[in-house]
Amino acid sequence: MLKKISVKNLTVFRELDLTCCSGLNVIVGENGMGKTHLLKVAYSLIAASAEAGKKDNSTDPTKTYLQKAYADKLVGVLKPESVGRLASRKQGRDRCQISLSFDDSSLNATISFATSAKTDVQIEKLPTRWDEQSPLYLPTRELLTIYPGFISLYEGRHVEFEETWRDTCLHLGAPTLKGPREKRASELLKPIELAMGGKVILDPNGKFYLTIPGSGTMEMPLVAEGLRKLAMLARLIATGSVLDKGYLFWDEPEANLNPRLIRRVAEVIHVLAKEGVQIFIATHSFFLLKELDLLSLQDPYPLRFWGLQRNSEKSIYVEEVDSLKELTNIVALDEELAQYDRELSLANG
């Protein structure tokens, strides 16, 4: 379990420490506050470790290997021109530092790099073993429609797509579960398949379809965008990619979904957190926040909110709370209330 994320001079952050809970960790903040950067940085470091541990010729972690592996993953996922571009430029010669602390301290890692760093980072704290649990990163958009041929394109060409897309496509292509784990996945899939009106299948031609009882199959590009996103989640559950992961990073789960579907997504997130998956999401949706909070009242689960805010010096700081009502600044909520005043103002000339 990830216990703490600490960053210094990373993109928009001067210094930030985030204490994680074992269940669901929710990042809330305005655009440009660095929510996605936090998700991607934590994902990159964990993924680099997990990928190295799965290689056939894997040895114990070394500085020589990791200084390049971490840099490559950060560049692949965040897509700066060089890793040094992730270091804040407002801080003169200060170095960027990123630390991840785990309940198992042998996984702890700290890296640093200067703004001039090209392809390597400096290892300040070397993990003594690889992370056996893989992370999964779900981007804001669905990937089922780009899946056919995407992995070979990514591996064979210089393309500007994020590496998270490649990583998640690999999970989408995995075979579906069999045996007791299939039963567990089926339970979780029921409300999602009900909302979609069908099941997701991967055809031998490498394309995804939605099979709708009584209506046949529909090509994924013809399915509504919101339902495609739900379909991606369904596929990742069916393959065990979500259930088996130690960490799930999900950027704006609410994107392209109507409130009814957001409710289904909140239920899935709740179940996964209860099942022991450590989840990190970034969101703008008050509706999703409220659903997650209500689920916590009905059936408590470890829940932490990180509210990112700017202080008077324009530095970003975090408000860490365990319930939604303790979060003092929710832009989506304030803007909805301001909308009532504007509506009244317009209605009365």
């Binding site: 008050f286 409220k290 939604l324 009502k325 303790e326 979060l327 003092t328 929710i330 909520l333 304030d334 803007e335 909805e336 209330l337 301001a338 009532y340 005043d341 009244l344 103002s345 009365n348």
Partner: protein, 195 residues
């Protein structure tokens, strides 16, 4: 049965309630003398206390604008910019005239708590039944009765209730925002509107 009338609304409480229209009490008028703001009704059923603020805005929605938004009106921003341009900002402060409704309720709650502490110290018989929330862990619920002619009132109430409960966190108290159909668990006066 006790009837409390606030504008066009009448609150009828059952015999098991102790109720006071706080801002019309002798204590508030003669002792506090309006130096503090006041919640409208203090009510008690056994050891559970309910402090109620009433904003009956039906028909007066325009006059009550902009109470619903926590964001300051743009005129305030313009005034602040002018004050700064004049270099008056060390001596002059601009603020909105009509407070955000939740800020107003919180000010009334703080002032009523202060008044309850004083009433407890001075052993004022009229107010004593309603002072336990100021010095004991007696249950206290804050209810904002807000009437507003709006098709999606429920959504507005839900958003305001979120803001109210965030503001109440430091006080360890819960709150509700409802209209005259008032559905708050355990709070059961009959509310009627004069035609």
């Amino acid at each position: 049965m006790v009837d409390i009338v606030e504008g066009r609304l009448t609150f009828s409480f059952g015999a098991d309630w102790q109720v006071i229209k706080y801002d019309e009490s002798a204590w508030y008028i003669n002792q506090i003398k309006t130096t503090l703001k006041a919640m409208d009704i203090l009510a008690r059923k056994q050891n559970d206390h309910w402090w109620i603020e009433i904003k009956d805005c039906v028909g007066h929605e325009v006059a009550n604008r902009p109470r619903l938004s926590p964001t300051d009106p743009q005129e305030v921003d313009q005034a602040r910019a002018w004050i700064k341009a004049q270099a008056f900002d060390d001596t002059v402060k601009a603020q909105r005239k009509k407070q955000f409704i939740i800020d107003e309720v919180m000010q009334k709650l703080r002032d009523t708590l202060t008044s309850a502490v004083v009433a407890q110290r001075l052993k004022n018989a009229e107010l004593l039944p309603f002072t336990p929330p100021s010095h004991t862990n007696a249950s206290l619920v804050v209810v904002l009765i807000l009437t507003w002619d709006l098709a999606d009132y429920a959504r507005l109430a839900r958003l305001l209730q979120q803001k109210l409960n965030t503001a109440l966190v430091p006080y360890g108290v819960n709150g509700f925002v409802v209209n005259e159909t008032c559905q708050v668990p355990g709070f059961d006066p009959t509310i009627t509107r004069a035609v």
